[in-house]
Symmetry: C2
Subunit: 221 residues, 2 copies
Amino acid sequence: MQTISRENYLKAILKLEGRADIVSNQALADKLETKPASVTSMLHKLADEGWVKHEAYKGVQLTGEGKGIALATLRKHRLWEVFLVEKLNFGWDVVHQWAEELEHIGGEELTNRLDAFLGHPAFDPHGDPIPNALGKWKDGRNLVQASQAEPGSVVLIKGVLNSGEEFLQHLNTMHIQLGLQLIVVQRYEFDDGLVLEWPDGRQATISHETAQNLLVEMKQN
Amino acid sequence: MQTISRENYLKAILKLEGRADIVSNQALADKLETKPASVTSMLHKLADEGWVKHEAYKGVQLTGEGKGIALATLRKHRLWEVFLVEKLNFGWDVVHQWAEELEHIGGEELTNRLDAFLGHPAFDPHGDPIPNALGKWKDGRNLVQASQAEPGSVVLIKGVLNSGEEFLQHLNTMHIQLGLQLIVVQRYEFDDGLVLEWPDGRQATISHETAQNLLVEMKQN
DNA sequence: CAATAAATTTAGGTGTGTCTAAAAATATTG
DNA sequence: CAATATTTTTAGACACACCTAAATTTATTG
């Protein structure tokens, strides 16, 4: 039996709060790959700790303290991902699971030292912003899904909406990576797929779904 | 309830095998701070996995596979300790507990990358040798307990026999650290305490117990 | 070598996070 | 707005590592 940590519950609630105002047990169960009954049970414990507010049948919300723990965990996760990629030279596709374990180790002091060692990175290897020691981040970037880019525009790859191993490996085979500059050559009518041009002049097509999961900065039009 | 991992059991058996040929449940229970009944129960599971040979009432022994896992875990533990001290600038007195958690993360690939990143260190921050990827180490050093050093001899601090936080912090207050060169000035008759002289000429006394837990290389006599 | 002491194992129980199935509450829809 | 569908909760079990206490085996000693 794979047991899910309290911190992972809090992190999942944090992420779901970003999208919908109320977080349902169903959504949590799906995200954490567990059963609604288990979610209910754990929410009671989190509420007892004062980390969430939970009203029966009404959904769940992080308290200030709960959000703090969730953000600290997210920070640790993303810092460790930077470590694994920048220092140990792993690919962005393989670091998530290790970071999922590393994020539970040590407290603020360890995290802050790691942060300093890494040079206070602002983004993780998937382009996600890293909260600072106070749980804040400033994301000055104005990113859009690649699927929104008009033909003729030049874009910079800055993030992904899907950090799953499978998707990232697909990007690897396409030679798509963070920082890459691409030209959107054409959009297909029938399936919304995009034809892209690489700096070396090579062209290739990505599906609409792939484009939806790619976050880009518009460089020029 | 603090649960003890299988790897920690194997590591503990490995260390106890170094001292006595048979490893008793009692010794394991003491080292792991648990109860003999819990040890018996876990030994059955380890035996089922094929990691130890356990004959009821007769003690336990690592199998080849078990020893491999124990050595790999020890390797990871010590490499992470090097990381925490060398890269994150923590003191040798605080890194053990974190390494105790870090050692369970990732497999060979992660460990080997960490090893390479750290420059293939041969010893951890407490002077303990780090097994290589094959579980071997060569310790060309000929270390003795500082308590054995004769007055007049010059010694180099190379290790400790007690890596507990308390003892290491005691060494910190005495300004004793790995690599330090000391002169053994005098031994007290009545309690076997040692008077040492630091490079700056300062002298201080350490107890016999402290000297027993300090491993030194004899530099000259 | 029998009596006693010590170590080990077994028996039975606890706490925690999970599960399935049934009951209860809320949402949806004809 | 009543019937139906969906979501959530409760009830009851299971797995796991732990515990205490009792039974068993091994070791020590007079």
